[in-house]
Symmetry: C2
Subunit: 189 residues, 2 copies
DNA sequence: AAAATATGTCAACATGGCTGACATAAATGT
DNA sequence: ACATTTATGTCAGCCATGTTGACATATTTT
């Protein structure tokens, strides 16, 4: 995938001459050390992380949007459409498009709410679950490979780091979501 | 941003009944523990990570594509168009569109290569650099906040984890890219 | 001189965001 | 009982950013 080759010859030489003096504060306050390494590693890591599922999905005529829907419905069976909209942070029109496809093709089904019959509670079908698990399996394989290289403590430290990277306001809700989904969707221990 | 509220009432109750028995191997081999926590944390962390710059960019009429171009050109002054294409992994037509806008609006400039005059080497202007640094500053602020919460060892462990998450084939090239850019673009210690 | 390379450009198309307007059914409030 | 609010869906159109294919131009390489 993607050869990354910023050829050493020529570029650096040519570049050295006209770089503006980049030492001053760029209107942002007193110079802080920029975390270029983490910024770029996150970019490449995320790119590869979603790249595996993307390949599988594209063969099915699906995209990343479908993946997100399938993932969260699988993890939160019986969730309301409104809940999914909040998590994905997109409009109902955008969601509607992909959701309709997944329902039509038998990956997701909607059932009228028992208490509130306006609601269309979302579930994955067995077919949908199989796909969701396949995709999660690919991502897990990558994660496990990484953790295996670094030692078992890496799981906890990655979890903490990623949690701390989330907006403070949302953190609690995200952790609750994960905890609840663990109970609801994967109840075999 | 995004209230995440998968309401506890109702959904779990309704959901319990028709979940298919999800214990078996889904055609993927013997059940591996799925790393749902990391998968979802990465999703939310990345969403917030790119969210800060997105807001600033949208006010300028730019999108994430512009950010990526500006970021890598700033980090690798004098890089060739072909290098940028390899890093971004998009077509020259897609790049052309956003690159043209940034050149026209004075964020990026192109200079004929000295050795090879077919090349259009890429540089940020002072205006472009200011924006690049502003965006990187926002992302750094988030990263530093996270690391501050977790202790200084978190930087190194995050770096290792993210590196290990990258495709093994690309890892070396990515690390070289980061190392080289550190020399080329931020030569003040 | 011919071929390969670096870059740019035109045209058309797909995906997945968005807004605005409107429709329907069911729950809720007075 | 009737009015309002809520949950969801849908139509229509726009925008950003990815794609393919074809072709143009300048320059370097063979």
């Amino acid at each position: 995938m993607a050869d990354i080759n910023v050829t050493a010859k020529g570029t650096a030489v040519a570049g050295a001459a006209e770089r503006p003096a980049s030492g001053g504060a760029p209107a942002d306050g007193p110079r802080l050390e920029l975390a270029w390494d983490i910024i770029e590693l996150l970019f490449f890591a995320y790119r590869d992380f979603v790249g595996d599922p993307d390949e599988v999905l594209s063969k099915l005529g699906f995209g990343r949007a479908h993946h997100r829907v399938l993932h969260f419905v699988n993890r939160n069976p019986g969730m309301k459409v409104a809940d999914l909209l909040d998590i994905l942070n997109i409009t109902k029109q955008s969601l509607g498009r992909v959701l309709k496809q997944m329902v039509d093709q038998g990956y997701v089904l909607q059932k009228e709410g028992a208490q509130d019959r306006r609601q269309r509670l979302l579930y994955v079908t067995p077919k949908g679950e199989a796909l969701a698990l396949k995709l999660a399996g690919m991502q897990t394989a990558r994660i496990n490979r990484a953790i295996a290289e670094l030692g078992p403590a890496a799981h906890e430290s990655a979890r903490r780091f990623l949690t701390a990277m989330i907006d403070a306001d949302d953190r609690e809700a995200v952790l609750r979501l994960i905890a609840r989904a663990d109970r609801a969707a994967q109840p075999r221990s």
